[in-house]
């Protein structure tokens, strides 16, 4: 009763506060007060997002090296951009990245949606199964990287033994991380294992958002389950699926930690995704200007693709 009266008092006071009260109390207009509140956020945003971005753009046109702060900084114009865009090694890294992004996103989406569809049926114990399925995405990528390095070990790794058990091959006759043909798939498998639950979660939210009465109406119209899936489930869950694809696509485009731990970009440069190339240029070779240009190219690529995609997503949503 006391609590109720206390909250009533607060609500009453709030209702009594009229526009312009700040001016009367402190001599500040509401607009000034609003600016006062958001200024720290804007300053923080400028300091940690906008300024570094502008600075990176500036550095990308120079020969600056962070490990040689005393060396003269020379303006190079678009030299770095030209050399990056014509460098076959960079294109090779982009191809590796594209392979990784496309396959992981496709497989995660298919399996993730499938799992979400099953979990949505609310069978007995589905809560426990949901929790179990979600476990991999709760782990740190560093842990997952190390963990799968052991699983892929040809002599003692469980993965090789399982494959050997089903195929009859010698377990140590193939190496997932050391083989040129297998290693790109080895990193795809780990990413799918880790992030499919995430896609499932988003798809599940989509499926749960479909009102039951639509299915009931379809049942009344004697629509088959297959017809219901294609005409109701998939179109209505599509914006969520597309959202999952967007998140995973962006995330995997800049994938670094897991691949670095699993293969370090090897064998050779077989799994050297763009972010590993970038890291090597920036923090091992200390080619700050070059790596700034590379980072800007990657940023523009992701930003451009994401924008096109978001427009498509909005179209789907507005249908």
């Amino acid at each position: 009763m006391n609590e109720l009266s206390a909250s009533s008092r607060i609500a009453y006071r709030a209702a009594m506060v009229r526009p312009g009260v700040a001016r009367r109390i402190r001599g500040l207009s509401d607009r000034t007060l609003a600016w006062l509140f958001i200024t720290p956020t804007i300053v923080l945003l400028l300091a940690i997002n906008i300024f570094p971005l502008l600075w990176t753009i500036y550095l990308s046109f120079t020969n600056y090296r962070a490990n040689r702060p005393n060396a003269p900084v020379i303006w190079l114009g678009a030299d770095w951009y030209q050399s990056i865009l014509t460098d076959p090694d960079v294109w090779a890294a982009m191809q590796v990245t594209a392979h990784f992004v496309i396959w992981t996103v496709v497989i995660e989406t298919v399996i993730g949606f499938g799992l979400a569809f099953l979990i949505d049926k609310k069978f007995r114990g589905h809560g426990i199964w949901t929790t179990i399925i979600l476990l991999p995405m709760m782990l740190s990528p560093a842990v997952v990287g190390n963990f799968w390095t052991f699983l892929y070990q040809p002599q003692i790794g469980l993965f090789n033994y399982v494959v050997a058990f089903f195929t009859g091959r010698d377990a140590s006759s193939f190496q997932m991380l050391g083989d040129v043909k297998l290693s790109p798939w080895a990193i795809v498998i780990v990413d799918v294992w880790m992030w499919t639950p995430y896609v499932m979660l988003i798809c599940l939210a989509g499926l749960r958002s479909i009102p039951d009465y639509i299915y009931e109406a379809a049942e009344v119209d004697r629509a088959s389950k297959w017809r219901q899936f294609w005409s109701i489930t998939l179109p209505m869950a599509l914006p969520f699926i597309m959202l999952a694809v967007l998140f995973r696509g962006i995330e995997n485009f800049k994938m670094f930690d897991m691949v670095n731990l699993l293969t370090g970009g090897g064998p050779g440069s077989t799994t050297e995704v763009a972010s590993i190339t970038l890291k090597r240029a920036a923090f091992e070779s200390w080619r700050t200007g070059y790596s700034s240009a590379f980072a800007i190219i990657l940023f523009v690529s992701v930003f451009g693709l994401a924008n096109i995609y978001v427009k498509a997503l909005n179209k789907v949503k507005s249908r």
Binding site: A66, R68, P154, L177, G178, G264, P267, R280
Partner: protein
């Protein structure tokens, strides 16, 4: 009330002081003087911690240590130096860093200090002075005191070599006795002989060699073959002229031989092996031969499963053109951003002492001081001491230029692409390496 508070503060202060004295606070802690030494996390670092207790006892200066695993060592500490961090007062930096660290002002130049304290570089093994202290090379400009001598060597399973059945099989196959290899061809035969062999019911493999891609592993490994086959970094008469030296026909053969060893005689899954993977392979009884730095040999000798009588050591065998080995090891430097340079220099002075150097060796560190290495009893002081001495007489180091990291990355990529990923030919790999290195040196403003 104010008096009561004051009394309480004074009382607490007295109690803390009394407690401090009572628990044996070192003079250093009492003075608040503590310096931080940065190095890699490995066996010799533990020996240095033990050794440094004497320094604290003698000077009252406390020691803190920042040790980072080898795979992150360069990243971590070069970042620290490049950002002008003062985390490290002393740093035991890799030999290849010396050019960049000197030119970028990360290390304190030690010439005046050496002169004042009568520390002479003539008292250290020449290879270690050139490798760890000098920049530019072969000039009397010193940026470090040689601290930890090291080179790549080999270990082998002495107990397997001694087995009559193994010896008999080897002789039948190769027509000679199974013994420590003197040439790289002999080493390959031995590795191939053990590859897939059954020893006490367990399948074993030939050799563990360096193949790591991410940092410096495969370069540190392949160099031992390249040098022996005739590879040179540049024309001795014309610095930075690399055509025909880096990619000479002999060097190409050396690279092919290393790939051959990798393909024929390493355990499955050894496509990304460096120091720790080599140790694991040897300690778990998987391999007959192991390529690794001497720094690990004291620990291996003490290993209860493969150490003692079961392990033997040998220097990198000779190739068709030479017998050389990759230099490892580091010098100890004072970081120019340190606020405790005086104390750090005191440490270097103490560390250069004859008795300290003797104890350093005894604890498992590799002294570079002639007083230790030229001692008549040194060669017999440890089962690997003779091989270490021999190796230090034939070491070659990678580029120590300020752009060493870029140069290293280029070799890592080219060699790994060829050896592990089967991309292209050895000739293409080394031609590509020359092209990469030329581009880097051109960017550095070098003329060749």
């Amino acid at each position: 009330m104010r008096h009561a508070l004051k009394a309480l503060v004074v009382g607490c202060g007295a109690a803390v002081s009394a407690f401090g004295v009572g628990t044996g606070t070192t003079p250093a802690q009492a003075q608040g003087k503590t310096i931080t030494l940065c190095w890699a996390a490995w066996d010799p670092a533990n020996a240095l911690v033990e050794l440094s207790k004497d320094f604290t006892a003698k000077t009252g200066i406390g020691m803190k240590f920042e040790f980072v695993p080898w795979t992150n060592y360069a990243d971590r500490f070069l970042n620290e130096l490049n950002s002008r961090g003062s985390l490290c007062d002393l740093i035991i930096g890799d030999s290849q860093w010396i050019g960049g660290a000197a030119e970028n002002g990360h290390y304190v130049k030690l010439n005046d200090f050496f002169k004042k304290e009568a520390i002479s570089m003539d008292d250290y093994m020449p290879a270690t002075v050139v490798g760890y202290s000098e920049w530019p090379k072969n000039t009397p400009n010193y940026w470090a005191l040689p601290a930890m001598g090291d080179a790549v060597g080999w270990t082998y399973r002495k107990d397997w070599f001694a087995r009559p059945d193994v010896q008999k099989d080897f002789k039948a196959k190769y027509g000679r006795d199974l013994a420590v290899p003197k040439t790289l061809d002999e080493l390959r035969d031995i590795a191939q002989f053990f590859q897939g062999r059954d020893i006490d019911g367990k399948k074993v493999y030939g050799a563990s060699i360096y193949t790591e891609r991410g940092s410096e592993g495969i370069t540190m490994g392949v160099s031992n073959y390249l040098y022996d086959y005739g590879f040179k970094y540049d024309d001795p008469k014309k610095p930075y002229a690399m055509d025909g030296f880096v990619n000479s026909p002999a060097a190409v053969k050396g690279l092919e031989a290393y790939k051959d060893l990798y393909k024929c005689c390493t355990p499955p899954g050894a496509s990304n092996s460096y120091m720790s993977e080599g140790l694991d392979a040897f300690k778990s009884g998987q391999v007959a031969l192991q390529m690794n730095f001497f720094a690990f040999f004291p620990g291996l000798y003490k290993d209860p499963n493969v150490g003692g009588d079961k392990i033997g050591f040998f220097v990198n065998p000779a190739g068709p053109a030479a017998q050389a080995t990759q230099l490892g090891g580091q010098g100890i430097s004072v970081v120019s951003y340190s606020k405790n340079q005086g104390e750090a220099l005191q440490y270097i002075k103490w560390f250069s002492g004859g008795d300290v150097q003797k104890k350093w060796w005894a604890l498992g560190g590799y002294s570079c001081a002639k007083s230790v290495l030229n001692d008549p009893g040194f060669a017999s002081s440890a089962p690997f001491a003779k091989e270490f001495l021999q190796s230090m007489g034939m070491v070659v180091d990678f580029w120590a230029e300020p752009a060493y990291a870029q140069l290293l990355q280029a070799e890592q990529k080219r060699v790994h692409d060829y050896v592990v990923a089967d991309k292209g030919t050895a000739q293409e790999a080394l031609d590509g390496l020359v092209k990469d290195w030329k581009a880097i040196f051109k960017e550095e403003g070098k003329k060749f």
